[in-house]
Subunit: 337 residues, 2 copies
DNA sequence: CTGAAAGCGCTAACAG
DNA sequence: CTGTTAGCGCTTTCAG
């Protein structure tokens, strides 16, 4: 706990105050706030009214101390590849809203760049977190299991762990990438380069594998494979610069933000016509992908579906296992007809 | 607290366990974890080691119950005008990081669209929140004061309340807008329209007032003033469509995301050359503003400075008052030379 | 259905 | 410096 002056008495109204006010026992007040606490309808009513009158609200901290639950879900994101990617800003926004809707609060954690969240998780225990959603960051299965053993829910968002058993929901990155391979080949491209995202991310692994596998199945190989170390606009322009050296007729970027950077580089630095001279494709379908200046062809991740599932797992209203949601190819104007 | 099964005993190791293990008192263990608790160096050492050995960590919930502090700061954003504006994604990211750095955690709250956060604040009390940062949402001064009286810190980020006394840090929106007025006039524009953001936001009020005032001082008046109801790309294109009817030679949008939408509309729907036929200006300097496809002239908000100040107020390491940080005019290519 | 009593795990006087 | 003793505000047996 940080640097804080001692506390001055700002006495809150407690359940005991309400009890005294009404001349009933404190535990009855407690029960009145429990949906299935045994209290006569009449008394519950009386208590709820008095509570309102006295401006009483149950203190979650105290409740949490005895129940070992907090009503709080932690959302963990890497600080590299987190909010700086608009896709995850959207994910965070939607997750927060969905969690809110079922009565949970979200505690927002950031994992240090290029480090998994193993360090952070034990700390979460200190807050009696009910569950954690790990998005855009990785975690070891050992830590994950340990967490689960503690009756805490965990779900990986767009991440998977080799050793299964820890539930996850992600986009079908492999299939999406395969579709893109087909699209590009069918449109007559033969000099294709793949711009990979950070190596340790499972999204990149799957997209890369899917794309390459499909190329191979159709008797082709990528002209080059370029690696970036982060998902950012800047990394996209750097990658495109390198890619340009191979004189490609199409570039598939591991995600949209990379693709946008690449596209801008090609158009404004190299004066290339997209898609006239070169096609570019991304993945995610972030808002900017549909902006008129880009009209990027991409694969949409169905975030709303993914979010509902994630929250359903957290609330135990669906089976905790691996879910893979198909993406949706969005044809716009960055690939030649 | 949401729907959750009862809890199964997953007994945590407590300070008492450590005490017993070492044959010292439980309170000594507690003190050992308090930076200025009176414990002999030797004993503290022993305790810290034993704690590590037993994998003991202080339970923040229990601590919070007795200290009435939580080490948690709430960040409140409106769901309209929150994360969907990249500016606030960045703010959230930086606030989170800065808070982390001083040992605080951030609880993320969203205010329902077009509603102030008055409803939410009392709920925060239930979590023993140490403070709250209100960004992109409004709050009544009554509620704010009540919160402060409770020894809780509050700071408004880019929002101000007529009745001062609640600390805030914001960009000098008025001055920034005046600079833009000067820029546009100096570059010879005479048919200028202002595209306003949502009426109830203080950022918009100040930008609008500054722009109009400066125009007036220089003997000019806007050709039109168009109102939007949200800060979004889509709202920007709609506004530009209306603006086009007035045949303006420059449009100042209340913020960047609006401006980007407007620019794309003008270029791709109306085939206008920016800035050849029409100039456009925004405010904020979000990452996309510098993308080659846009090169938007705008006023940069110094987010890092604003964030440091905000956190400093929260940690009481600086005087809680109104801070106004000057913005910085960023000249790019969307205004004619 | 209702009340009394015993904690949840920690901090904070208060003596020694 | 160290141990003892009360709570923080709520949930949860357990009797009645």
């Amino acid at each position: 706990m940080p640097l804080k002056p001692p506390n001055s008495r700002a006495p809150n109204v407690t359940s005991r105050d309400v009890a005294r006010f009404l001349g009933v026992s404190q535990s009855m007040v407690s029960r009145a706030f429990d949906t299935n606490g045994r209290v006569s309808a009449k008394n519950r009513d009386k208590i709820l009214k008095a509570a309102e009158l006295l401006d009483y609200r149950p203190n979650y901290i105290a409740r949490s101390l005895s129940t070992r639950r907090s009503g709080i879900i932690a959302i963990v994101m890497g600080s590299g590849g987190g909010l700086e990617n608009p896709f995850y800003a959207d994910v965070l926004d939607q997750l927060g809203a969905a969690l809110d809707a079922v009565g949970y609060r979200s505690l927002f954690f950031r994992a240090p760049p290029d480090q998994d969240v193993d360090e952070q998780l034990p700390a979460l225990r200190q807050y009696n977190i009910d569950g954690v959603i790990v998005a855009s960051a990785s975690i070891s299965s050992r830590i994950a299991r340990e967490f689960q053993r503690d009756q805490r829910r965990i779900v990986l968002f767009n991440r998977t762990i080799s050793n299964a058993l820890v539930p996850s929901v992600s986009c079908d990155n492999t299939a999406g990438a395969r579709e893109i391979a087909d699209l590009l080949i069918d449109r007559g491209h033969r000099r294709m380069v793949y711009v990979a995202g950070p190596e340790h991310t499972s999204t990149n692994r799957d997209r890369e594998a899917g794309f390459l596998a499909r190329l191979n199945e159709r008797g082709l190989a990528p002209t080059a494979l370029i690696r970036t170390t982060r998902y950012s606009f800047g990394a996209g322009v750097d990658a495109a610069r390198q890619a340009a050296g191979y004189n490609p007729d199409a570039i598939f970027f591991a995600n949209d933000i990379l693709a946008l950077g690449g596209m801008d580089y090609l158009r404004w630095e190299r004066r290339r016509i997209v898609p006239g001279q070169i096609s570019v494709v991304g993945f995610d379908d972030i808002p900017m992908a549909s902006w008129p200046a880009y009209r990027l062809t991409t694969v949409r991740q169905k975030v709303d579906e993914m979010v509902s599932l994630t929250v359903a797992i957290i609330t135990s209203s669906t089976e905790p296992r691996t879910y893979v949601i198909p993406g949706q190819l969005i044809l716009r104007d960055s690939v030649r007809p």
